[in-house]
Structures are given as C-alpha cells and as structure tokens.
Amino acid sequence: MDWLIEPLGFGFFQRALLAGVLVGGLCGSLSVFVVQRRMSSIGHGLAHSVLGGVGIALALGVHEYLGAAAATAVAAVLIDRVGRRRGLHVDAAIWIVTTALFALGVVVVSRVEGVGVSTESLLFGDVLGVGTGDLALIGAVSAGFAILLLARWKALVFTTFDHDVAAAMGVAAGRHEALLNLATAAVVVASVRVLGVLLIASAVVLPAALARLLTASFGRLLALATVVGSAAAVVGLYASFHLNAPSGSTIVLTGTTAFAVVLVVVAVRTGLARRRGIAEAHRAP
C-alpha cells in the first residue's frame, strides 16, 4: 500500500490530485456535450489556440490565464467568421485559425526569455506544479459548469439533441449553444495547467466515448463520463509519480487504455449474444 500512501505525503501531490480529480470530472462532464454535438475538433482546436494566448500574455507580462481566455475568445470569433465564407466549412476554419495561434504561441514562448514557463509544460501539462491560484480557477469553473448543468439541464439536452426543434418549441437554443461554447472555452483554459494544450482534446472526448459504450441514457452518460474523467486523472497521476512521466500523458494513456478494454469487452459480449441468438434461431422449430 506504500505506493498508494507515499505520494500523499507530498503537498504538491495532494494539490495535483485535487486538481486532477476536478479537471478530470470537468472535462468528463463536458465531453458528453462535445461528443453528442459532434464538436470534438473544436475542443482540440481551442486547446491549441490557448498556447498563442499564453505566449502573448507572457511577452506582455500579464497573467497567462488572461491570455488563454482572450485567445479562446478570439479563436471562437475567427472560426465563426472564416467558417461562414462560401466554400469553406467549419472544420477547415477551426484548423486554419487555431494552428496559427498555436504556432504563434510556440514562436513567442521560445523567443521570450526568463518567463519561467517551458514550452514542454504548456504542451504536455505540469500538474505537479499546480498552485493555489490554479486550484481556485479550476474550482470556480467546475462550480460554474455544475450550476449551468443543474439550472439548464433540460434545455441543454434538447438543444444538443435537436437544435431547430428545441428552438421551435420555445427553448432559447441559440443562447444555450452559446453557453456550451463558453463553457468549452472556460474548461479548456482551466485544464491547460493539468493536461497541457496537446492532451486536452482527449480529455474532452474520451470519457463520453467510453461511457457511450455502456449506457443509452443521457443522464447516466453524464454521471459515468464524469466518474471516468476523474478516475483516469487519479490513476494517471499515480502512474506519473511512480514512472516519473509527464502527468498529462499518463492521464490520457490511462483513459485510452480503459476505453480500449471496455471496447473489447463490449465487442466480445455483443458477439457472444449474437451467436447465442443465431443458435437459438436454428434450434427453434
């Protein structure tokens, strides 16, 4: 049991565990909406754009979270504008805008001296360096998202299921879609420290994809994806501590392994059930 208890003796690991559980659950619950709205690319893209914002914030000497938030807002507006051009689609707009911001971030971070932030920690996460300010931001975004889900659950589900009919039946679908986009941007910014810009995309897709293999109810999907996200963070953090590997990577690999195992188990069960069905059909008179 030492491997379980020993890391808890370190203050940085306790903070990392708290941040990991919150960010994992936050990304897991958001992933349900990201996956069902078929917007996996936007999570990936917004995470990339964060690097540009952080780079510019460091160069200007303002707080990196301010830069990250501004970059996601600029990216969202530019994606909307570019995506509306005739002949272009939103997926093309996402990659044009966000990779440009990502490249800008890489250049600026590598050129600005003495900023105290490494490109590696921005790309792959540095959960062991989480401070009180980071925890406060993660806590605030988690609380805000939880309140949004509790207060607007039915409208959010209806908008996600069928935007046009929801609007025709009195739901402010446009407003709820905007709230989900805003929440996506906030979750991405709050998760950067823990997961890194390259790995957030997995955290906002994988938990829902795994949970979807196990349930056909939207409510249970949300609960399961939240638990999967947090559990992957806990297991991934212990793996990171003991293997001395980047935390973002071990969290994502834990989630991916769980997904692969569930996928195989479900496929085997479905195959066995199909065989049983065929055998019973043959036995029937």
Binding site: Q36, K154, F158, F161, V165, A168, M169, G170, R212, A216
Partner: protein
C-alpha cells in the same frame, strides 16, 4: 374511422385553448399577408392562410418554394418582414416560438444514436415550460405516458429511440409535439424516406388527431400522395399559387405556375394523379402512377 378526402374531418371534441373564452373559438392558425425569410433575403411573400380545427392542409411546391420557410416563420425560426400570425387567437411576435404549435421534424434530420429513451425524448417537448429543476415532475411523466399510450407506444417508454421503427419514430415525435397541448401540428416532410406502410400509418394517425380538433399542416414533395389523401392543398412558389380542395386546385395551370413545368392531371375512377409526360415513358408512366396511388391509399381514406 373513414375520412372523405373531399371533406375536412369533423372534430369529435373541441379542445379548449388557454386564455380567454374567445380563444377556444378562435381559429387555431391564422396567417395574414405574411412575408419573410432569412435576414434581408425574402423567401416567401404575401401568404394568407386559415386552418380550422380538424383541418389537414398539404403544403406542396418545388424545392426552394418556401415550404420549410413557412414552417420556420410559423415557429419563430425565420425573420418575418411583414404580416401577422395568430395561433388560437393569440398574436405571435416575430422570432418567437408560439406556445401551442408542435413541430414534427423530418426523420432524416435526427441523430437516432443519441442516448435518449422514448419517454425522455417526448418529455423534452416540455423543456421550455418545465421548471428549473433538472428532472421532470411526476405529473409531466404521467402526461408523457398518457400520450405514448394514446399513440400506441405503450410498453416502449424505456426503449432507446434508436430501437424504434420508422412509424414508431413518427409517433414518438407526434407525442413530443402534442405534449405542450398543441392546437396546431406542423409536419415537415413526413413522407420523406419512409416506406409506404409507414406513410399510411402516419396519415391515419394524423387523421385521428385532426378529428380530435387539431389543425394540421403537412409539407411534402409527394404531390400524388397528398392529392389522393388530403382534403386541402396549398400550392407554394415563393407565394401562394392556389389553395383549396385537390379537385379544384390540381390543374395544369396551377402546376405550371408552381413547378414551372408542364404536368398532366389524370382523373380516373374518381381519383386524381399527376404525371410528368416524358416522351419515353408515355402511358406506362400514367398507369404506374395510378397503380402506385391506389396501393398507397391508407385504410381510413375509404
């Protein structure tokens, strides 16, 4: 229940609309000089339309004629440039979804893998009116069950929506449209992508709902289907070309104005069919259209 296509179904029960006593006697749907579209783009103009309780109106026209825009204007999803819309006597503001209008979307526009049960999908129709709590009340769930029973989906409430057949999916959406006590039902292309049996099933059901006092508007590309089964047709091509019983409005001239093509109208044994007289198809096309029409006639049309 038999419904003569030439006569509007007589309502069995008058539904009492909310609000003033006059509201219950007001037309479920009244449209006056309605023009609108998307932003500055005008897709439809000068539409006048009245639909009484128990009436079923088939809205036909070519692609881009404004059929979907009409539904979007009636549900507050397009920009009204001029005119007015009243639902059960209540004037509807521009870009506002009317309280007592239910929309049944095209089946093909829906993600059937979405993780919802049948009951949950029906209850979503109450999202705008239900309280802020994240669950539906016992009475709301009872109302959903009552509608599912009425529409023949009892026993399927806890099934995932993807497990339903085409006809059951239409029934589920009818239940969702009706759960807000709708006075008006709008069906967007209910015949699109469904088999002949499902079409007959849906039309039979819509006939029953109309007989209970609902006003129904059905958009479709399937001219022969509505001509054979509905008592009233509205021809659209950016504006109303004709409005009335099939026998009166289904003429070569109306078809030319609507579709900008020369189509032939055939009257045979009291039934009407429209055929595109292509030189190579000739009389074979005529015969097959009439045969298809007879095959698709649902039981309740007699």
């Amino acid at each position: 229940m038999a419904v003569d296509p030439a006569e509007p179904a007589e309502p069995r029960r008058r539904r009492v609309a909310s609000g003033s006593p006059e509201a219950s006697h007001a037309l479920p749907l009244l449209v006056r000089d309605l023009s609108g579209g998307y932003g500055a783009l005008r897709a439809l103009e000068h539409v006048d339309l009245e639909v009484a309780r128990g009436e079923i109106v088939g809205v036909v026209g070519p692609s881009g004629a404004g059929k979907t825009t009409l539904l979007r204007l009636l549900t507050g999803q397009a920009d009204r440039h001029a005119g007015r819309v009243e639902v059960a006597g209540q004037r509807i503001r521009n870009r506002r979804a009317p309280r007592r209008v239910g929309l049944v979307p095209q089946l093909g526009s829906v993600d059937w893998d979405f993780p919802l049960t049948v009951e949950q999908a029906v209850l979503l129709g109450l999202s705008a009116d239900s309280g802020r709590r994240p669950w539906f009340s016992r009475s709301e769930r009872a109302r959903a069950r009552e509608l599912l029973d009425r529409l023949g989906l009892d026993g399927l409430a806890q099934r995932p929506i993807r497990a339903l057949s085409g006809g059951q999916r239409q029934r589920m959406f009818l239940a969702r449209a009706m759960i807000r006590d709708a006075d008006v039902l709008l069906l967007d292309e209910p015949t699109s992508g469904v088999d002949v049996a499902t079409r007959a099933e849906v039309l039979g059901l819509v006939g029953e709902l109309a007989a209970d006092g609902l006003a129904v508007l059905i958009t479709t590309h399937d001219l022969n289907w509505v001509a054979a089964h509905l008592p009233r047709l509205l021809f659209l091509n950016q504006s109303v070309v004709a409005d009335g019983p099939p026998r009166e409005v289904l003429t070569p001239e109306v078809l030319r104005k609507t579709y900008e093509a020369d189509l032939t109208v055939i009257h045979e044994q009291g039934r009407i069919a429209v055929v595109d007289e292509q030189p190579l198809l000739g009389s074979a096309a005529t015969a097959s259209a009439a045969a298809a029409d007879r095959a698709e006639r649902p039981p309740w049309t007699g």
